[in-house]
Symmetry: D2
């Protein structure tokens, strides 16, 4: 039985944070100065139960961090709500690719459709189908972020600038997609949108609203349907197989929690019908997953029987 006793959960969260102190694995992401400069010692974990109650531990629940790849969920959810999954299938598959998150080779060999919307190529493709120019597309994302985080997030202008400056591989993906007519409209607008998408910043406390919604079948604590049940189910399923790129399989074995990683150190995880979880700790492995985040989720899963397969 999945454990939902709050004092037990709190104890487990504190233990998880304690555990991270012995874990020194991973490195700060180096490709942009804003991530390279993060304080590596930070670690926090937030759980929001189905009943709306928030439990947390660690030292950075109030600070702001950029969502990076975790915000790919926002585009996916928004597009599922707008178009439904049958339409989405015209644009991306929902298959784990076995390759790197930014693999150009995979797209060239197995495309033209990106393997899934958690890959850079998949998220770029979805961004192309948001209506309008870059301002309008970014505005659409802001609105969805606000809906899914229950709070207006801010764009970190420095990170945004850095993403643009270092985004050549993403440009390669976008132009390859364009060359096979997989994306619509102006490539620069689409890339601008994608770089913005990575650059919104929120606190772990706020971020936890998103996985909570997913775990709760799309409903908020008042029981109102914020997103449809179908969208929640589909998003969780895609997280399960694709959320951590080519370590999604290992992560699911270990934690049993459909999750999405971000190179800033975020991890967003769902325990269906039980809780949403966010972890933050900035040292990541070569695949862009927070080492301490994985450790915490594994601990929580084991101690609370929160593995989906139980």
């Amino acid at each position: 039985m999945k454990i939902t006793d709050e004092s037990k959960i709190l104890k487990v969260l504190d233990d998880a944070i304690e555990l991270t102190k012995n874990c020194n694995l991973g490195e700060l992401a180096q490709y942009i100065p804003e991530l390279a400069a993060q304080d590596p010692s930070q670690a926090s974990i937030v759980v929001k139960l189905k009943n709306g109650k928030v439990l947390s531990s660690g030292n950075c629940q109030q600070s702001l961090f950029t969502l990076q790849s975790t915000s790919k969920l926002v585009v996916l959810i928004g597009m599922l709500e707008k178009f439904g999954i049958q339409k989405i299938y015209d644009w991306v598959m929902v298959e784990p690719s076995g390759d790197d998150f930014a693999s150009v080779a995979r797209l060239d060999q197995f495309g033209p459709r990106p393997s899934n919307p958690m890959l850079n190529s998949g998220a770029i493709t979805l961004c192309s189908h948001i209506k309008g120019n870059s301002e309008e597309k970014i505005h659409w994302i802001e609105e969805w972020l606000e809906k899914l985080l229950n709070k207006k997030p801010h764009l970190n202008a420095k990170v945004f600038a850095s993403e643009r400056r270092t985004g050549d591989r993403n440009r390669a993906l976008a132009y390859l997609l364009k060359s096979s007519n997989m994306i619509e409209g102006n490539v620069e607008w689409i890339l601008e949108t994608y770089f913005a998408l990575c650059s919104f910043e929120v606190s772990p406390l706020d971020a936890c609203y998103l996985p909570f919604l997913l775990a709760n079948g799309g409903k908020n604590a008042a029981g109102e349907q914020v997103i449809s049940l179908q969208t929640a189910i589909q998003t969780i399923s895609i997280m399960a197989t694709c959320g951590l790129y080519n370590e999604s399989g290992t992560h699911l074995v270990k934690t049993g929690m459909p999750s999405k990683s971000g190179v800033s150190g975020y991890m967003i995880a769902v325990v269906p019908d039980v809780a949403g979880i966010v972890t933050f700790s900035p040292k990541v492995n070569p695949k862009g997953t927070s080492e301490r985040g994985s450790l915490m989720l594994e601990h929580v899963s084991r101690e609370l029987n929160w593995h989906f397969a139980i």
Copy 2:
């Protein structure tokens, strides 16, 4: 809430069988005469609930069919029980590969370890670590089959002969694994074992004992632990991301049931903490998945809220 009312379930199973009559997708597997000669109209579905109760519908629950790739689960479970997953990781990864079930290219480029134990290369690798010569290895498999099916299965000698005759791609995989020291011992013995593994036959009714065990945390209806909880959890997780090769992601979105397909037309699916399911219908898609089997699982998942993400 997942529905467990038996009369409702029976109704849903009957409807699922009814649905298959309008589905004419897929082809009989052609690579061996025994599969090419199957009666394409057959369809059945069996559910074994956590309490041990069996419910079924369709016309072939008593007939025998070869397990084909679904028996890769048997080797995986046996080896997990014997060695534990840390040791298994030395031999195979547990990552969906994004490629074909018998891809040699993937193994050559991303190896030497096979991506996961549901691929031919992964199952061959595990077969190499079963102790003994081919007779001893096959005997080990028989014992595990008996344990996991609660019944002694039979080897279909014709299918076995056909698998050997047409098994050149599997031989290529085995020798490539051997060339990088990923498999141990005599290659011919290993291949013999692998071909035998595909050739055991059971009825859908009997086959359902295996996913029931997994759904029940490794315990039988009497509450005895047949396999460990850890093994059950790990197996279900691997099924979720790798069980249908490069359509595992789509299948999980649609059904939310960790499953394993076999080219004979079998599908073995798990609803954790609720039930094990077996479907059988022999017309398969190009990836080796039963078309009607998928349809039935999708129907059952939707009608009974058996999707894992709910």
Copy 3:
């Protein structure tokens, strides 16, 4: 012995043109309207012997056609002259790739250096190392074209515009190269240069000056060294193994003439120490090689013993 009798050569050229009338293979390149609108019946062949004598046959020696990929030779030669091959090796390999001329997968998997300078990725890389902004780079190319064609060529503005409009795959290659620091400077300038490079137009008669120079060890008819012997040797060698992308091997077996194809229908071929050859006929195969051009070179090679291996 290689035949150099002029009347025999003329007869062979006329026969080659005659042969083309029975060859209806290939299609006009369709990706830009200027190529799709070419008169498919055109065919000509021009030979410029070591002694400077020009012999030709067919109906379009005076017309202008865009050089397309054949002008990759111009950048290669110019850069070899400026930097020498040791420096060039830092930027590109000189290995046939076995892949498509615009393969992104190959570059991603086997890079970061492009396999050879005859591929789009290789030519783009060399364009990046031409000094200056796009105007200066294009000016540099014009100067080299004038030197290697002994005539000032014109840029076809419509083709240039079409190349830019349809160049997304080349943009993908450029940004992928940029992401691994294989190209220097402003990507848009480099692409502008590359698109211009494809868009210069000359007559087959004028084009033949280039292979003549190569066949003559870099010297013009007056015996003056226009380019160095080393550059000529290296260029011919690269043409032999890489000039027709992934049909270079077959072409060398059949014709024994190191050649460079262009999607407009040009083929530039070298018979070392004997002659330079240009053929033009616009219907190309899927690899971008003129079908009739291949046929003519094969005929000439056989009838005049101009195969390098004799």
Copy 4:
């Protein structure tokens, strides 16, 4: 002009040997003990001019070494003589692959036909089309070796045994070819033949008869046609683009001599219409090419103007 003055040539050969003394690059092949135990200091070079005259230098012209991959030429020539190139094209392409000599991935992705007959997969394929069982196939090779070396060679039984013992990657290639019906008949017989093919041993002096025949248009010194001119031309052309696997391009730029390397340290090179060359020195680079052999050929090419492009 290509230099053919014998005293000049002798001087150049002596200098080439002298040069090797400063070259310490490469390693002895380690995969079988017979190659790992070779004396690394050995170096010799033999030239056989069109007129039949033999010139040589170095210390091992009389010793016996296994031909390894250089004997792939023997199968290719024999099959070209028997079937003609049009038939050969049904079995293998003649395109440089850009990949490793034993790449399984390339064959799986770009097959089913092997890219060229200089790759292991290509040679195995040709071996399958030699008539008979393994004894008959090996006998056929012996006859061709005798014809092309003008001497009966011996099979080194230890090397043969070692090749069989370590040949798993070649087995993988053979079974993959079999699975796509690219090879005919019993796989074990074919592999036996292939392993034997690698294991014949000859002296550099004897080996030089083969490239001499090729350089001389298939004729021996008495002017008798031993193999057809067409076969000679085709073989030389294939050596030019494919003879050194994925460094064939670089080798052709540097030496201008179509060549074939062998992991024992042999290099067989052709200067069409001038001479055949054999070098031997056992330390090879990671691609299986003799480091000192390359150095000697480069020196000879430069000093004697023997580059094909001049």
